[in-house]
Amino acid sequence: MRIAVCRPQVPFAHGGAEIFTDTLVDELRARGHETDLVSMPFKWYPGTRVLTQAFLWRMLDLDEADGRRIDVVVATKFPSYLVRHGDKRVWLVHQFRQAYELDGTELGQFSDSPEDRALRRKVQELDRMALGEASHLFAISQNVASRLESSTGLTAEVLPHPPQQLDYRCQAYEDFVLSVNRLDRAKRIDLLIEAAARDSGLEIVIAGDGPDRERLERLARERGLDGRARFAGRVSETELADLYARCLAVYYAPIDEDYGMVPLEAFLAEKPVLTTTDAGGPLEIVSDHTTGLVVTPDAGEIAQALGWLREHRDEAASFGRAGNAVAREITWDRAIERLLA
């Protein structure tokens, strides 16, 4: 098949969605499909820019390229699914969340003015129209599918995908707890820092970079964590695999995350995951006292849970192995077979 994978691109940003789509292209090519990535810059502010940028996707002609038909278009996140094609398959990473569950929170973008309110509704209308015309509608997690259904009434088939390919292995259960994430407020790294402040035996390594880094580093200093909290910044794939291989457990507690590759990566390294009851997608694979621990989003509870894992390393290892079995069930072979069925 000739397949175009569509992805909006925030210039200079590289996260889970970019890794997912890059890998999807590679995996489709590996299975003999002529595949290319179609990407366009995306800027969602100020004001109506979100709509004009979305409209660019509508103007694309992906029926054919260079005189040859494109059989399938796979769109992934807003606004790439506005593209027109007779066989548009949407593998939904997420909608434009500022127009939905993030509206009215500190992570929202639309004010209470009539123009901003109408703008938000226009985004919702675009979703209903563009997702409604897809020939197949998949979501990367139940959480994303549920949000879609409650916001648009559309039903998506849940189709998870494996995480990025790294040299996953389990070497040891050392004393440190690992956080792997872009450093922004929604990822709640501050809860981990506050937990470390309450448990002098807790060491943390924070991998990743982002706009919240300065605040988090300041918070760590203020809490006197020097030496017990290491900000590793953006690490290489080799370094990341090494951190996974050696950590005691992985902390992952974003607010209502779409899916979360980090728990799957942790599981592939046989490490348990600590998450919170409001984390969203991660709860689909992290089960309390089976593949990790699930607690309320409270620094005291998090400190207690991580302390328990430190004191119960056999259980920690057992949770990690159980998680490994879950992660190994999610393969590209299965995902692509369903995507192209």
């Binding site: 820019r49 709509l51 123009e115 309110r117 703008l119 919702q124 675009l126 129209m129």
Partner: protein, 411 residues
């Protein structure tokens, strides 16, 4: 966003007052809603948008339409046929010219002549005899900036009447059934019919069909609840069909709780209507909440109910025969009743949930208040970019851009 909310409110005894009482708590979770006191001439200051609930009853809605005609806004069109309202706002106010002008504007010289006939009492009042032929909705539509309607039927009627603005179809919200014991009026199968008893509710057809069903199934009882319209000879019809004794239980006006209990105690709910004024039925919505199998007329909003929850009867020459077959099927097949009941509850939960309804209202109001400004900005950006690369108006490229914008309802 601040919304001026014009509606009859309890203790006024109208369906729309009950409707607003149900909707408002959920709507207030989403918007800053100010209910305008009855009789106010204008919206309060500082509002972003006004919402006007309009129905056909002049006693409940004339003041609201007066306010609408002073300041346009979003109209909830509960009925499409507004002739009775218009008559109440013109003839009842001794404004004969107003009535004549409206009839002429909507229906030409013939309309004006008919209006003269009504005024001079040479022909029966059109709002009672032929309202569906002369709906007079333009009286309201011309002042609406956007519409909220409860059915695709009314949406299509409004479009046909020339309304070009935004129309949002918002289902009628479902009341949660009260916790009360069902009131069963018979041990056998009970067919319940709730609402005003008159010819437009197809009561003559229902009586004849019930009598026919009872010939084979005397255990079936018809429960008729609601006041009888003046001039409707119910007693004589019952006697003629042998329904005056066994087989019929008659209740007049009942309070809300008793209404629910009697509905809950019915096995089948019948709600027929012809002609339709484009209205929805609170009884049908209650029936869905209760999980009752429904029999309705195949007209207007009723025709849009899923076949899983309602058997639909065309109001034609075969109406009595079709209705008889439908009632017989439901009276004798408990499995069918149960399946339709389960589907009805699901429809009430999925489509008529008051939270979902409030969300649709909020969307309609927010789009109405700020949508034009958003559209203008998008159009300016897109046309500016097009002009920047040399695409001028009335070229194939400009038409292509316009077509794509229309596809996604931008601009």
């Amino acid at each position: 966003m601040r919304v001026a909310y014009f509606s009859p409110m309890p203790p006024e005894q109208t369906g729309i007052a009950d409707y607003s009482a149900l909707l408002l708590p959920e709507l207030r979770k989403r918007l800053d809603v100010h209910v305008v006191r009855r009789g106010a001439k204008k919206r309060p200051r500082g509002m972003d948008v006004a919402l006007y609930h309009v129905g056909n009853n002049p006693g409940a809605h004339a003041w609201i339409v007066d306010a609408l005609r002073r300041e346009p806004g979003v109209v909830v069109l509960h009925d499409f046929v507004l002739h009775h309202l218009v008559a109440g706002m013109t003839l009842a106010r001794r404004d004969r010219d107003g009535y004549l002008d409206i009839l002429e504007r909507e229906h030409g010289v013939v309309g004006r002549l008919l209006a003269h006939g009504v005024i001079e009492k040479r022909i029966p009042s059109l709002w009672e005899s032929r309202a569906a032929d002369f709906p007079l909705a333009t009286f309201v539509l011309e002042h609406a900036t956007a519409l909220v309607v409860h059915s695709r039927y009314v949406r299509d009627q409004a479009r046909a009447a020339g309304f070009e603005g935004q129309i949002t179809v918002v289902p009628h919200p479902a009341w949660p059934p009260p916790r009360a014991e069902p009131d069963r009026v018979s041990d056998g199968v009970v067919i319940g019919c709730f609402g005003v008893v008159n010819a437009s509710k197809r009561i003559p057809a229902l009586l004849r069909a019930t009598a026919a069903v009872r010939r084979e199934h005397p255990e079936v009882t018809l429960l008729l609840v609601g006041p009888t319209s003046p001039g409707f000879d119910l007693e004589r019809r019952l006697q003629r069909l042998g329904l005056s004794g066994a087989g019929l239980v008659r209740e007049g006006w009942v309070d809300e709780l008793r209404l629910w209990r009697l509905m809950a105690g019915s096995d089948i709910l019948v709600n027929l209507r012809h002609p339709t004024m484009g209205e929805t039925s609170g009884s049908v919505i209650r029936g869905l909440s209760l999980g009752k199998p429904l029999v309705v007329s195949d007209v207007g909003w009723f025709a849009e109910l899923s076949g899983d929850v309602a058997l639909k009867i065309a109001p034609d020459d075969l109406e009595v025969d079709t209705l008889t077959a439908a009632l017989e099927l439901l009276a004798t097949r408990r499995d069918v009743r149960d399946a339709m009941g389960i589907a009805a509850r699901e429809v009430a939960r999925r489509d008529h949930d008051v939270g979902r309804v409030a969300e649709l209202y909020a969307s309609a109001l927010e789009r109405a208040a700020g949508g034009d400004s958003v559209d203008d900005t998008v159009l300016r950006d897109v046309s500016g970019a097009a002009a920047g690369v040399g695409i001028s108006a009335n070229t194939a490229e400009a038409r292509e851009i316009a077509r794509r914008l229309a596809e996604v309802e931008l601009g």
